[in-house]
Subunit: 625 residues, 2 copies
């Protein structure tokens, strides 16, 4: 059987794969080496172990359109083909170097369209990296951190033309990016175009981020997962952020948001963008605030606009904009239990109160649309008034802002700008459906992008779980992308291990939702793993799992011996007799042709009873019922 | 504010508490010492740390009826009162000794009823501990492991009388056990009696297990969590099982199932029972199978009956019985992807096939009811044909067995035996509700007791999460008790850390369901924690959380300094300005009287804008949006 998580029945033979040689990735030693970035099954950390999967590619209509997939080798000789977000780092045939950055896969597609032009671009300034005259420390933390890769001049739309995937889709054009995601999702390119044209899906792809492997966010496609990274004034280095990005994508993150604050924001983002195979999102307001030395009241449209352009030229694919926090909504948070918990929301609330004026993000929204359109940056309209506790869920403040986001969504679309909507937050299970239903209605089915939601407030240190529950449910009901939550939520900055835990928890939620939505082919992944389990193919079970290393490690903790990875002593049954074995025998007896008559079954059971009487098989006891 | 997770607004003043002295538990060094058993906040492992909570008691109508609660001290001077399952081990005023066992709290209540009598009881035999003539190794692994506590002669019903809580409830009697749980759940005793009488709730309490603190399982009460423990031929010792039990209850397990196999089954169970403050469940079939040297076909009603009586006399409170696996259902599993995955189910299927006869558990069911009635053992009717993969969910085999369980439920009730029904297993989200709805209809609303369900098969090593998602949902829809799943599911035997992870994950699922069901007072726990979060009361946040130690540890990883536990540098905001702080100021401005007029709000906002202009507060950036 050849299963495929995203619905394609592709087999290795139908594709031109890269070599399956087990030469380890030749990336320069560093964050992006598979050995350090935690490649699940390249076997890099154990040469003796058989290579669990290799990178394959599905070819499109042109030679430069090759869609990466993960091929899991089964001991049966078959392959299972899975969606892959890990980028070139897991392709032994590709040399990667974090100091050079990834190859610009989309560059030719962008140039061929002929609707963008290079230009001088904005002059970098010290404050871009948080270097302030008021600052006690001058200069970058480490100057050699500046990205050494060949400088590329920025591009933007030529004479005000609309260069967004939405504009192309509306003009009935199927771009290479659309074909790429169509192959990736196993749907017709026309389906992709239709969903984008209708505003029900977005394909975030800044013309200045040609390195990405295109992906799509929409309820008709696989549920996506975003991982937040970002250094802060307190901790972490540029190298660590790049490692977080490569690890997040290796474990399955579909997009990454760089929420860096403090110093080196510009440089950190440059390193992340140039090395990222997935779309990168940011919250420009954070950097803008740094530029005014953290004084909310000193923020202005000019500073914000300058920051958006700075990030647009670097290649940020989508931006969170908290333009729905209106002056008149602020008092609605007055009687809340936890008031305003969104950073962006609280900053804009502070600005509105300080000036007693309407938010400049709202008053300048159309101008902002024109900027985003020139680079094809996707809006992620932020929910600055989302609930920060169970008590505040689905309240007046939250839904008032949502109605404004619906209004802004229409304005953005009128400018051909792709748009998704951000959602909560902290919501008890019985109030989750109301959120997604209302968002879909008010925002014309624009993709919903939710943080969790957390279904209870009582478990700090386990909020990946409190929120994974809500995330699975809201994704089942239509959320297109889930923003992960790590165990450190509410407590501190996630480290690379927290990033892995958050991503895997959210891949579980996303896949559980794909199953519940009946996404074509989603269950084939579960079936492949369950077949392996039923047939005691332990290595196949490990290699098909979301985290093969940990599954293998847990198994070996109880039964270290290699023979334990055969049918002998599994944790469910034992060597000769076991529930699975009985079942298979029953299957062979009655299930062969799938339509045994009552007489055949009766005869078969008599036969079976003789066998058992003679066999005298011993029952070994499993470890769990 | 004095919140209470299970709805009572009790304050410390209304109860007679035990001392709050921080003298550490004087239990003999060993598994049950709080220092080793991981008391969340006794501070035993850090004397410098203020005692986060102390044991309190709510008094009932008689002096020997004292319901334990957990009182979390807040820095505001108030207490939050929470449901507590940790037993006397967390009461510094009580001396515990694992070699002596716990005090028999219920003994007097049982004697007062005068409907039971002591009797000689069954003679212990070598095979009770798995010592077989065929065995290469003779004798116990360690003979001095035999429980040293004073031997107590077993009790049973006098001349066939019904001594079950169901029988009392039907006779309109409110027992001390019922009053105990009524206080614990903050409902009227009559509600408890009604739910038990109607068969919608069970109160598992074997007359030979007087050590337990009574608890109730039913959809009208708090969702309960069971933790499985049990040694095996492969690993673990008696001491480790006792430690798993005390750790599980300390972290919140409401019942514990001892699934021990291999050797020392009888002795391990004795140690667990004598030291357990919660009801203990077992699967007698496992031990019966050991007695026939693991040969399923050699099982017989006599061997099974002998095992049930052996365990009944020891004090097992509820027993899983796979009496619904009928001969004619076995072929229904033939075309399944993973056949029969329940140990009990596969053993009975093997027996049925070997003899080509109907299950002796089914044919002798009424006799079994008479035995359970004599000790007040609760039936947990096992789902031997539950699905073991997403592909097999809600199939003919599963629902055919469920209909038989409905029939057996009525027979058990006709014998005054308390009964709950076990459920799956592996079920995708969209098929979960059908399970609980069908079970409630077919089984006359008898309590549903489900294992997860796991919502996907692809994440071995993370099945506490794949199943926590399904558990929260099915509990919201009416499941009364959740059987936890640990990260080791499908891979190996859980160690004490896995037990903790499983219990905490399931406490999250159970509480999320209590919130969604609108359980009276459930949200007060969340509110108390969110208030502490909003007011930067870090220690209160830690102490109110399900796992204070880990929450504190994660916080300190990023911001180790003690001052960090004040408003300075929290992971959401910062020292002077933060979203929470703005919100509080807005609250004081507009929220004071809760009914500000538009004019007042307008005036207030103008005032506020002046304040901000003057304040020049700096915005510190949080670590997560």
């Amino acid at each position: 059987m050849d299963a495929n998580a995203n619905g394609t029945g592709v087999t290795a033979t139908t594709t031109n794969d890269t070599t399956t040689s087990d030469t380890t990735n030749t990336a320069t030693p560093g964050a992006t080496g598979p050995d350090k970035a935690g490649a699940p099954t390249t076997g890099a950390d154990d040469p003796a172990r058989p290579l669990g999967w290799h990178k394959g590619y599905l070819e499109g209509s042109r030679s430069d359109l090759r869609v990466p997939v993960r091929r899991v080798h089964l001991t049966t000789g078959r392959d299972v083909t899975l969606y892959d977000t890990s980028g070139p780092y897991t392709d032994p045939g590709v040399e990667t170097d974090v100091r050079r950055g990834l190859e610009p896969l989309r560059q030719r597609w962008i140039l061929e369209r002929g609707d963008t032009e290079e230009y001088a671009g904005r002059e970098p300034r010290p404050e871009d990296d948080g270097i302030r005259h008021t600052s006690p420390r001058g200069g970058l933390r480490n100057l050699d951190a500046v990205f050494p890769g060949r400088p590329r001049r920025p591009r933007r739309a030529r004479d005000g033309r609309a260069v967004t995937q939405l504009a192309y889709a509306r003009r009935a054009e199927i771009t290479p990016e659309m074909e790429f995601v169509a192959i990736r999702e196993n749907v017709e390119p026309e389906v992709v175009r239709e969903e984008i044209a209708a505003g029900r899906a977005v394909l975030p792809a800044n013309v200045n981020h040609p390195e990405i492997e295109p992906m799509i966010i929409g309820k008709r496609f696989l549920v996506k997962v975003n991982a937040n990274i970002g250094n802060s004034a307190v901790t972490s280095s540029i190298e660590e952020e790049v490692e977080k990005m490569t690890r997040a994508t290796r474990w399955g993150a579909d997009t990454v948001m760089d929420l860096s604050t403090g110093r080196n924001i510009h440089t950190t983002r440059e390193w992340v963008l140039r090395n990222s195979p997935v779309p990168i999102g940011t919250v420009p307001l954070y950097q803008a605030l740094e530029k005014v030395d953290g004084r909310a009241e000193e923020l202005s449209w000019d500073v914000y606009r300058d920051t958006v352009i700075e990030q647009a030229e670097q290649g940020v694919d989508y931006m969170t904009v908290h333009a729905g926090v209106l002056l008149r909504y602020v008092p609605l948070t007055a009687r809340r239990k936890t008031g305003i918990v969104s950073r962006g929301g609280s900053i804009m609330a502070a600005w509105c109160l300080a000036h007693h004026k309407e938010s400049f993000l709202y008053t300048h929204f159309e101008e902002l649309c024109e900027i985003l359109r020139a680079y094809d940056i996707t809006f992620s309209l932020g929910d600055g008034l989302r609930p920060g506790s169970i008590a505040d869920a689905n309240d007046e403040a939250q839904f008032a802002e949502l109605r404004t986001l619906g209004e802004l969504n229409r304005i953005a679309k009128s400018h051909d700008v792709q748009t998704m909507i951000e959602g909560p937050g902290h919501v008890p299970m019985h109030k989750i459906k109301e959120n997604i239903d209302l968002q879909q209605e008010i925002c014309d089915e624009a993709p919903f992008y939710t943080l969790g939601p957390l279904t209870t407030d009582i478990a700090p240190a386990y909020d990946h779980i409190t929120s994974g529950i809500g995330a699975a449910m809201i994704a089942w009901w239509g959320t297109a992308m889930l923003c992960y939550v790590t165990p450190k939520e509410h407590l501190g900055l996630p480290n690379p291990d927290d990033v892995k835990t958050g991503v895997i928890t959210y891949k579980i939620a996303a896949h559980a939702a794909d199953l519940a939505k009946g996404h074509p082919g989603a269950q084939e992944w579960d079936d492949a793993l369950s077949d392996a389990r039923f047939e005691f193919r332990w290595e196949d079970q490990f290699n098909l799992s979301l985290d093969p290393d940990t599954a293998r490690e847990y198994h070996d903790e109880t039964l270290p011996a290699e023979p334990a990875k055969t049918a002998h002593f599994c944790s469910m049954c034992g060597p000769k007799f076991c529930s699975m074995k009985i079942s298979r025998e029953i299957g062979e007896r009655f299930g062969g042709d799938g339509d045994a008559t009552p007489e055949e079954i009766e005869a078969g059971m008599l036969e079976k009873s003789r066998e058992f009487a003679e066999s005298g098989n011993r029952v070994y006891l499993p470890l769990a019922d």
